[in-house]
Subunit: 129 residues, 2 copies
DNA sequence: CAGCATCCACATAGATACTG
DNA sequence: CAGTATCTATGTGGATGCTG
């Protein structure tokens, strides 16, 4: 490993982009990472402003990607809980550097951030050292 | 740092998502990271399949974000060279974990990857150990 | 060579209303 | 409660042709 050059194919990024480019996907992954398990309306609150359709769509895709797990309980009223799969947990870890990078360069974003997203919990990542 | 929980605001992700969600942005950042400096048509080849409009648009945004640098030389024929800024270099580093994560879970992607993107250099990241 | 202008196609996301 | 059904608005990317 001395000065060697390793090649990592960017191809998987195709799939990654499909996931992360969805505006809410990373937020959902993070929210589930922070709270362990959440229900549909719980996610709605946590995310602040997502429409049920968008949430529903995104959840299905994340599920199809194997990043989150859906557990439905046959109760009345119905209960469905979402949580991260191991893969999802790994993804959440993998985006931390990206977050940190982003955090170091907040130019004008700061204002918009504070005004629009203050208090939206899904925007915080909780990292256990 | 023993079991402490640090909070990182996801807000900057807003800006990040705007950048990385663009299908080609990360590929461009990576291509420039691999090759140091590239010209417009050089990028076209390196990226394999991008349209000049899309490349032009994306370059402008990356430039506006301060991730790449544009140098134009008053020659005939005209020459313009693009390279990463320090911030761009940092971004490239920050996405490596994401790449590695993606690389460990290539399910069906593998086929499509090989058939569609084999030989597209921008899909490889070159990492100096 | 390095783009810009224009038009078009598709995907994503929101609002709203309704259902098992 | 946990979604689905529509409809719409916007944005992102591609094709093609033209210009400094």
């Amino acid at each position: 490993m001395n000065g060697e050059v390793s090649h990592i194919c960017f191809c998987p990024l195709e799939g990654v982009i499909d996931v992360i480019s969805k505006k809410w996907a990373l937020l959902i992954v993070n929210a589930l990472g922070n709270r362990e398990r959440l229900r549909f309306n719980g996610l709605m609150e946590e995310l602040g402003g997502i429409s049920p359709k968008t949430l529903s769509d995104t959840l299905k895709e994340l599920q199809a990607e194997g990043l989150i797990k859906r557990e439905s309980f046959a109760e009345i009223p119905p209960r469905v809980e979402y949580s991260l799969t191991q893969d999802g947990v790994e993804l959440r870890k993998a985006i931390v550097p990206l977050l940190k990078w982003a955090a170091t360069r907040e130019h004008g974003n700061k204002e918009r951030c504070a005004s629009t997203y203050r208090g939206v919990r899904a925007h915080r990542i909780e990292e256990k050292a």
